[in-house]
Symmetry: C2
Subunit: 331 residues, 2 copies
Amino acid sequence: MSVTIKDIAKVANVSYATVSRALSNHPEVSDKTKKRIQDLAKAMGYTPNAIARGLVTKNTHTIGLIIPDITNPFFPEVAQGIEDCANRNGYQVFLCNSNWQLNKEKEYLKALYEKRVEGIVIGPVSNDVSHLLDTVNKNVPLVFAAYKPQIEECNYVATDDYKSAVIAMEYLIKLGHRKIAFIGGQHKVRLNGYIDILQKYNIPVMPSYIKYGQFKQESGYQMAKELLIENEIPTAILAGNDIIALGVIQAIEEFGLSVPNNISVVGFDDISFAALDKIQLTTVFQPKYKIGELCVEILLDKIKNPDNHKFVHKILEPKLIIRKTCKGISI
Amino acid sequence: MSVTIKDIAKVANVSYATVSRALSNHPEVSDKTKKRIQDLAKAMGYTPNAIARGLVTKNTHTIGLIIPDITNPFFPEVAQGIEDCANRNGYQVFLCNSNWQLNKEKEYLKALYEKRVEGIVIGPVSNDVSHLLDTVNKNVPLVFAAYKPQIEECNYVATDDYKSAVIAMEYLIKLGHRKIAFIGGQHKVRLNGYIDILQKYNIPVMPSYIKYGQFKQESGYQMAKELLIENEIPTAILAGNDIIALGVIQAIEEFGLSVPNNISVVGFDDISFAALDKIQLTTVFQPKYKIGELCVEILLDKIKNPDNHKFVHKILEPKLIIRKTCKGISI
DNA sequence: CTGTTAGCGCTTTCAC
DNA sequence: GTGAAAGCGCTAACAG
């Protein structure tokens, strides 16, 4: 089918080992033949077969990335950091989208193993990460991105989610809010911050003010709608992330109320759209691109030093970005 | 390193050919040994090596996808359609982000060839697609996504961009606009629609009302700013896509004008954020997910019938989505 | 400097 | 029903 090293060897009248060496620019081959072979290869339209090469060298120069939602701008930004850093180091990334489905996550993980990627970075779908951890047995390093698992026997790079929630809550409290609801997604770390701050200020934690769905705009919209119908209207809503917040705002306005006049809203992540003039979402920033870069750095280090089994934990600082979806209220 | 078929053979005391057959569920192997081998494989933590398999079978069950901007929600939606359709058919997709850089596009293309993907779908960076076309020689089918190249000797799935522009322009004209500016990105098909409609209605085409930059929010913002400073204020702006439109709106409001009261704006694509209450961007819809699906269908067909060299062209219908960034004006 | 050869892990005839 | 052996395209000793 496609032209191989042997085809070139035949035409050039040399052994195919020589061709191999010439093409990979080995020092121990005369410049003359080197040039001749390389020109010939180009002329014949030769494309090296990474499959065959990978089989013998055992390195594919590929890392796998599994993210749960490609349509949430948060993850593309992380992915961008991952890709850039990987590329800089001669690696390619295999980007997979688990779409918040556990079975897809598992399938992709398996496929990545089978393709012999040299490392994996993953934004997990759920807190059930057991299937991700026996990666250790497979000898391919794995690092969690923007997520801190309950178990410490793994690598992760995450923003301090608890602290993020605390910052956001302290801000709302400082603004005078007491009736604060929480609308979250799959992961629940931020909820702890919410609860703790409520308790710190002796505000009763009302289960009916806590809703859990998905990290989706539509989900935020639905939950906010339910929340508004079923309860006394809160003065503030802490949303699990920015796209949930966007859905929440949508629901609030459809309900005939306004943000921030009737209800303040704060999100998490600081996706690019949050900064839009029309949106001006107050949110807690996560260093998305940086998270991606760090994940790859850790991975590359682990690939280079396979015997170093020390786990790497990186916790990055969140930052409150005050825009226009929150308002102070008089008590 | 990792356990191979031979390791299993040794333990099971059979030839490794038998193991291979048992694992791939061949009919010509006794159910008893089949079960025994399969259990053993699982127990030993065997993961098939897709690299080795690919080398002999010549199929990697992988297709490559190169998109120019992962942070523009348009492309993730296309990617989603591609991924879903590929997955349904037992294919995995290798997603690459060229970041609007031609050299990155070339590099990725090369890497995909080397990895022996069975097909490629690409949203090209520029109108220079020559390097993409000799894919024919490489025997790996390629289809353009959401882009119609000048050359017809290729496969593509695209929305009728010219028509999209015409629809948008007719709408603006109908609203009474005559002073309409255009702010575009890398590709220029939509510009033709803009110009043609202007001429149809005997409106002079003013070069200073036409700006070209990138398909980026920031670019839309900058160009709109320049446009507003340098010219008589237009009553409407046709933006090259939705994220440009978002940047344009930003600039208009910073300039002290309002959308749609002073200036109407229409975009293209209908990204999810365009529908947000706060945004309500009038735009021309493209069937993003559908485009992705169709690309894969074409690809799979070409993979299955490698001798069919007929080129497939699919042009999908755009649709005007009227929201709130346009206003009728009295002439 | 170049050629010969083994072998990566697997599938697939061809025998038995 | 199972084994032996060839070979996918390439790299990497080992010779010469």
